[in-house]
């Protein structure tokens, strides 16, 4: 499986034997409620991995460069899509969207989790997660 640039956060996801990522989340031991990102509280939360596929719940396009901080991306700005994806019947996760034209996303579109390179302002690349359309919806 290919090496990736360092993860932007070590607690964000893990990669299976096939190299594909799964987001890490917490399941509250008392209530069964699933939360993302994984809280640093193993007594209260059991670590679980989230389904890799789901459907697009909502979306938009970030068309101006966010203020830094907190934004850590490079000065050269390209608009990007963001959305919420319902992963099975577990949780709805927000992330960047990739793999399709900015105005081609549609609610209920089938989506899958992918890794995505993210270039920081200092030129270093980190690996984050994103969601991409599955099958015919992909570009």
């Amino acid at each position: 499986m290919p090496d990736l640039p360092p993860l932007i956060d070590a607690q964000l996801f893990e990669r299976g034997a096939d190299g594909r990522p799964s987001l890490l989340a917490g399941r509250e031991r008392d209530t069964g409620r699933v939360v993302f990102p994984l809280p640093d509280d193993p007594e209260r939360f059991e670590t679980i991995t989230l389904p890799r596929t789901g459907s697009l719940w909502s979306w938009t396009v970030q068309r101006f460069r966010p203020k830094s901080p907190p934004y850590a991306g490079s000065e050269a700005f390209e608009p990007y899509a963001v959305g919420y994806v319902a992963l099975g019947d577990m949780i709805i996760v927000e992330g960047r969207l990739t793999g399709a034209a900015l105005d081609s996303y549609r609610i209920d579109m089938p989506m899958m989790l992918v890794t995505e390179p993210f270039v920081m302002a200092d030129g270093e690349t980190r690996t984050t997660f994103a969601f991409a359309p599955i099958g015919n919806d992909a570009r």
């Binding site: 909502s58 850590a72 709805i92 927000e94 993210f118 984050t128």
Partner: protein, 381 residues
């Protein structure tokens, strides 16, 4: 227990005033409110005041007078003004004091807000990778709402068009030029489906409201409106809020829905009774969704309401008669009190060119903000 009345109101024009600090704008609003009511600062027994980004309210005593007043600073994000008002309401209602003031002011730099992840209990990557923007939240909430309930972009634009038309008529508004619907729709897209004319901007401004008990209001003989309800509520499970890396699959209601219900119950009135409403319009979709969340119509009915002009000043339920946040901008600490100021002017018949016809009796105001808080007030003439 006393009923609570608003007997005076002052405002510093919203927008940009480079020559005055946020605190100075607050002092301006206080002086205007006092002058209008024929009262002195030393008559005030208590004050609640706050800003989100423009300093500590209680320092304005050095301008207004060192009377030893009980002055409580309020810092509650977007609900700062609403919380100051709730403080004043409770103080009078309890009988502790019978005359006091609530003040909200702010002054923000240009452009979108730039929150820090750690201050919101969020990991750094959420901000670093460009997910921590209020504009994204508002866009994604209305994007889904449009798909679920058949709201069109034309209605988004109609709400902005109305806001700018009303702003032309409001002395305290920031944007006082009409903008037509085509221009709004074809303007630069900020966060799909919202163009730049569909978002409000951070701004500056200040509002002061004078509160009195029923007995004191009668003695003073000033134009007075009764505060029938004041409710501040935080978020219930399953609500969709700003800065959420994930949402529960089981969807719930919203802080607005529960604050609204609480306020109607306190006031003993229902949505059909309301004559004029000021609803949080951070962007045009928010006004549309808040019409339903505050009980004025069912989800999806806004499309017909807007097409028929029902929320315009001459309509059956005028909404955001001073142009709301879209025309006035959003100085966080002052924004919620501006809505109450506007209802006070409307109910006392002093709203000038934007006066709602037919002598409105009940005014409703609703402010919403991060991380999921809503404040609702109902005023009665």
């Amino acid at each position: 227990m006393s009923d609570v009345f608003i007997i005076g109101a002052g405002i510093h024009p919203f927008g940009r005033t480079p020559a005055r600090s946020g605190l100075q704008q607050g002092v301006y609003a206080v002086r205007q409110a006092l002058a209008g009511a024929g009262l002195e600062w030393r008559d005030m027994q208590f004050a609640f005041g706050g800003s989100d980004a423009a300093g500590k309210a209680d320092t304005m005593v050095s301008e207004l007078g060192l009377t030893g007043i009980q002055f409580i600073n309020v810092a509650n994000g977007c609900a700062t003004g609403g919380s100051a008002m709730f403080g004043a309401y409770s103080t009078i209602k309890s009988g502790e004091f019978d005359l006091g003031i609530a003040i909200g002011f702010d002054k923000h730099p240009r452009g979108a807000f730039d929150p820090k992840p750690a201050e919101w209990g969020l990991p750094e990557w959420y901000g670093e990778t460009g997910l921590m923007l209020t504009t994204q939240f508002f866009a994604m909430k209305i994007q889904r709402y449009m798909a679920m309930h058949g709201i069109t972009s034309n209605s988004l634009a109609a709400v902005a068009e109305k806001a700018f038309d009303n702003g032309v008529l409001a002395d305290h508004a920031w944007r006082r030029e009409p903008v037509d619907r085509e221009t709004i729709l074809n303007a630069t897209m900020v966060s799909d489906p919202l163009t730049k004319f569909m978002f409000c901007s951070p701004a500056e401004g200040a509002v002061a409201l004078i509160f009195a008990s029923e007995r004191r209001a009668r003695e003073l003989g000033l134009p007075a409106v009764r505060l029938r309800a004041a409710a501040v509520r935080s978020r219930p499970p399953g609500s969709f809020e700003v800065f959420a890396p994930a949402l529960d699959i089981a969807r719930g209601s919203s802080p607005t829905v529960i604050a609204s219900r609480a306020a109607y119950e306190m006031a003993g009135v229902s949505p059909e009774d309301i004559d004029v409403a000021q609803l949080q319009d951070t962007e045009t979709g928010a006004e549309i969704m808040h019409m339903a969340e505050n009980g004025f119509c069912a989800d999806g009915e806004q499309e017909a309401w807007i097409a028929e002009g029902r929320t315009r000043i001459q309509g059956s339920l005028p909404v955001n008669t001073d142009g709301g946040c879209l025309a006035c901008g959003e100085p966080i600490g002052a924004s919620g009190l501006r809505q109450v100021y506007e209802n006070y002017r409307q109910l006392t018949g002093n709203a000038g060119a934007r006066q709602v016809p037919g002598a409105p009796r009940l005014g409703y105001s609703h402010v919403y903000g991060a991380p999921g808080v809503s404040a609702v007030a109902i005023l009665e003439r």
